[in-house]
Amino acid sequence: MERPNWTRLKGEGGLLAGWPEKANRILIAIVAVALLLGVPILSMTAMSVHVERQVIAIDPESYRAFRICFYGLGEMEYSYSASLYSEAYVLELDTINFYRFSAGNSYEYGMKENMGGGLSSISGAGYIGDKYLVLVNDNNAPLFVDFELHARAFVSLIPTAAILLTAGAAGYALGRHADKEAQLDRTDPVVMARRLVRRKALVAITVLILIPIVMMFAVAAAAPSGTGFGMVADIMGFFLGLLIASVVAFVLQFKLTKEAAPPDQILAKLAYRLRVSGYRVTEKRKRLIVQISNTSAVHITTKKVPGGTWVLYKPSATPNGLSVLIVLAFIFITMPLALALSLFMLYRASAFASMRVLPRISQIPVPEVSAARVETRTMIVESLSEGRRLSAEAYESARSNYHDSVIIMFVLVTVLSFVLGTLAYGIMDVDQRGKIALAVGVFSGVVISAVLWLLLAAKARPQITEFRKWSKKLDAALSREVAGQSPADGEPSSFELIVDSFKEIPKWLKVRRKAGGYREPLIWLLIFFLIYGAIEVGFMGLLWWVEGRSTAGIVAIAVSIVLVLLSVGSNVAYKKRLDLEQERTLSDWRKRYDSLKSEMEKFLVGE
């Protein structure tokens, strides 16, 4: 009986020596908390700039500069009053233009105001990058400026990056420590190959982190002066760099190891070994797609070369992960988080490839029994694994559908409670009607939400429980089969379980079809962006209409209506396509099941 020593399932603990999966999740939770608490606190304390009201003396033909470096959201207000009326002005410059200014070269400014006259105050809020506030004295006499500055950062990228880098370094150090504790055998070629794989990934991550910084300076330096682009060039360069680095993280392909066996054989054996270890493996056009978490996956491919076959890996995102990345990139200000997530996925993929894939490539199962027996067991394992994958996807889809329903319900109830509150405010003519209306809105919102939530949960729970049971049942059967054990007396055989699970497939497919957004995030995102665009343009049109710019308003509202129609049309077409697909799949499935049953019965009776 084949009893390989690498068949323990994911999550059993002590899977392989070194860094456990659980530690990653704990580290992510700590980083999330550190970001949520640390970023605002550090931004408001360390990044803010305060200059209390004072008189500043500036020498003739000289200047005094104050740097406000947030790279994030914040607010700034300053006031000034100068002793001279002419040739004294205040400038707002970005880094590159400040250096151009201080070097005496031509420069562009974001703002220029003469300082003469009475006390002037300037304030603003929003994104503030690296800004210089320069008080300039071009007179032949000293200038005295009554000056005060308060710049507060709320969310800055600098502490965000510091926290992420610290977490990355801490994670790396802990990983190294865990490897040392595990007393890895450094004469083992697999252990050494693993170190090389990780090192290559770390080099790639470092280079990708540098891309936005290099792009920021390169674009800012290359920006032609006098076009107005210079003021935003560094920010544009930085965000362009973030986008490029995020995309490149999923394009890079890394060499894992070189084997003598042909590509098909390597992939087939690897797929089998990963499946028996509990991973979800999909085979697609001579590549394996292994899901390693809800958001991350890894693609494994091969390349035939003289003298063997290279096994390569590439990080990838699951539909869920891709949706999160696109939304983070779309919000723009959260683009650094998109890069952080991409790099984390790259790191995870390299860790998975080195810790989980690499040892499984070099292991050759040694059949202790006849080849036919091994082949039968392999097929049972493959069928159970596929059934487990489908049932797990159905379970996740059912949960996703339930969560979607809950979110939609909350949105609708919020609108309803707002309407009820407004109606209550309008109808009543009593003291403190505002408070009463608020109470009506909140009370109705809470009660209706609670009742509807209970109803939704009661409706969804049986199906979710059923799918979870199937997934667990197939998982247990797979573990048992891999360990070469027999089912307990009276329990259904693996064959029966496979046939029974096969009968459940239409139900699983139906649930997956409902979770369309989960399966095809790009379509879902297209519809989301169309609706988002329609709302944005619609509001803009209404605003223009109110402002009296009726032609522009009508055009914008017409565009908004077209976008709404496009989103509805796309949704209807998408659902129709899914319905047709499902009908075809189910009809095909029924034919296959009938054909299979009759073939089996004929075969047995014919025996």
Binding site: A372, S493, F495, R592, E607
Partner: protein
């Protein structure tokens, strides 16, 4: 009641359950042990084992202690493999060959 040999539509599940159980065992199994493991009513069990024995899928051996034991024949092993192969191919979206 139909006699074992007159079964024209055997229950696929019961046949597969018996085949699989014997396939898993290295040694021939005691009849009573196999009946308990497969959780099949004794009459039905007898009917099916007799039917399977007639078709050469399983063989009956009488040991020195007088107990009857059942073992899977090479043909039975091949048949079980064929069943597994079919369901595996169908699950992986291939029509049965």
């Amino acid at each position: 009641m139909a006699t074992p040999s007159s079964m024209d539509r055997p229950d696929l599940y019961i046949v597969a359950r018996i085949l699989e159980r014997l396939w898993r065992e290295e040694q021939p199994m005691l009849k009573t042990r196999l009946q308990t493991a497969t959780n099949v009513n004794y009459d039905i069990f007898r009917k099916y084992t007799s039917w399977m024995s007639d078709r050469g899928l399983i063989a009956v051996e009488t040991s020195d202690d007088g107990h009857e034991r059942l073992r899977l024949t090479p043909k039975g092993e091949e048949s079980y493999k064929k069943l597994v192969q079919w369901i595996n191919e169908v699950i992986h979206k291939k029509m049965p060959s």
